[in-house]
């Protein structure tokens, strides 16, 4: 048993099995956003590591190939942007304005909420990348000195929020244009929100993934500047 559990490939096998199982469960239950495969798989793997007495460092070494793929996956984010490039260019004024205003409001609210409740500066740094798509949030978190693992959880929480209450909230404020709905969800809830926006319509999905990438680019430029005030 010890030989199996501590074999170099065990952590990777565990992760793949948990992800495949969670995806199948997700599909059979009619794709509820709260049971996103990534969340279920995360909990399953954490439990298994605890039960089998495998340290996190050892686990990380086993799944290094997945960590390595985050780079190429980030580069591949250019693909959805290239696909919807024409529509975005036609409305570039509106898109840039939205990007700028929303980014400012989003960062301001994050900082204000944490400052008012007296949280330490380190926590502010960790919370800042939360609206950015996870691969970028990870590397960006490292650049600005955030606790990356915690930053990832906050990012995932934002994504799940967008997929669950996002459409409802947009209904409340009467945003009906599928382009605006998709873009809003993509800006605050990146990939997880995008999969939800795709379920609404192709237009919403396309604008959502474009918003996700544009927001990631904007935040990559802006956050190091904002972060300087807190480090």
């Amino acid at each position: 048993m010890n030989a199996l559990v501590h074999a170099p490939g065990f952590g990777l096998f565990l992760t793949l099995a948990a992800y495949l199982g969670a995806s199948e469960l997700h599909r059979r239950l009619g794709r509820p956003a709260l049971l996103a495969p990534v969340l279920v798989a995360m909990v399953l793997v954490a439990l298994a590591l605890e039960l089998l007495g495998i340290g996190y460092e050892e686990y990380l070494a086993s799944v290094s190939v997945l960590t390595l793929l985050l780079g190429p996956a980030t580069v591949a984010l250019a693909l959805p942007l290239l696909r919807s490039g024409r529509a975005l260019l036609a409305d570039r004024g509106a898109v840039l304005l939205t990007l700028l205003v929303t980014g400012t409001v989003s960062v301001a609210v994050t900082v204000a909420a944490l400052e008012v409740s007296g949280a330490p500066d380190a926590l502010v740094l960790t919370t800042l990348p939360r609206s950015v798509t996870t691969p970028v949030a990870l590397t960006l978190g490292e650049t600005i000195g955030a606790a990356t693992t915690l930053a990832v959880v906050l990012t995932l929480v934002s994504g799940v929020l967008g997929a669950t209450v996002g459409p409802w909230l947009l209904d409340r404020v009467r945003v009906v244009d599928p382009r605006a709905r998709g873009f809003a969800i993509g800006m605050v809830s990146h990939g997880i929100g995008t999969s939800r926006a795709l379920a609404e319509s192709d237009t919403a999905g396309g604008w959502s993934s474009a918003a996700m990438v544009l927001n990631a680019l904007a935040m990559t430029v802006a956050l190091p500047v904002v972060a300087r005030a807190f480090s």
Partner: protein, 139 residues
């Protein structure tokens, strides 16, 4: 009466093997990795405070606008990677579960910050873009 000795269609040119020598997904992955590394070199040379992979993204964007062939080469690796992006977040997520104490200690402020900026961002983005699009092209 000439019979019809000519076959209805020519045999495929270039021999019997339609399988490309290198699987398309490997070519795509190599290109993506190459772009990431190029981005890393650029970051190193310029000292930009930006992750190399994000620079790689921008480079692919510029190349893709000029040459559609680049996009077609990258797609076989890029599409499945993006479709299962979530799988890559499992390991850092597991790490975060081990940091639950930080999360619980600051649960109040964190919830306020994340939910607050989520709701504000969503509403602002939706209403601003809808209004701006309407001004450009009234329905």
């Amino acid at each position: 009466m000439p019979a019809n000795p000519v076959p209805e269609s020519e045999p495929p040119r270039g021999g019997a093997s339609p399988v490309p020598p290198v699987p398309a997904v490997l070519t795509g992955l190599a290109l993506l990795l190459g772009l990431q590394l190029a981005g890393t070199v650029l970051v190193d040379l310029t000292g930009l405070p930006v992750p190399g992979a994000v620079v790689g993204l921008v480079v692919l964007l510029v190349l893709g606008v000029r040459w559609r062939g680049v996009v077609a080469r990258v797609e076989p690796a890029g599409a499945p990677l993006l479709k299962h992006l979530q799988l890559l977040f499992v390991p850092p997520g597991v790490g975060a579960l081990t940091q639950v104490s930080t999360l619980v200690q600051n649960a109040g402020p964190l919830a306020l910050a994340v939910v607050g900026s989520f709701a504000a961002g969503l509403v602002v983005a939706g209403t601003v873009l809808q209004a701006a699009l309407r001004r450009r092209a009234p329905a």
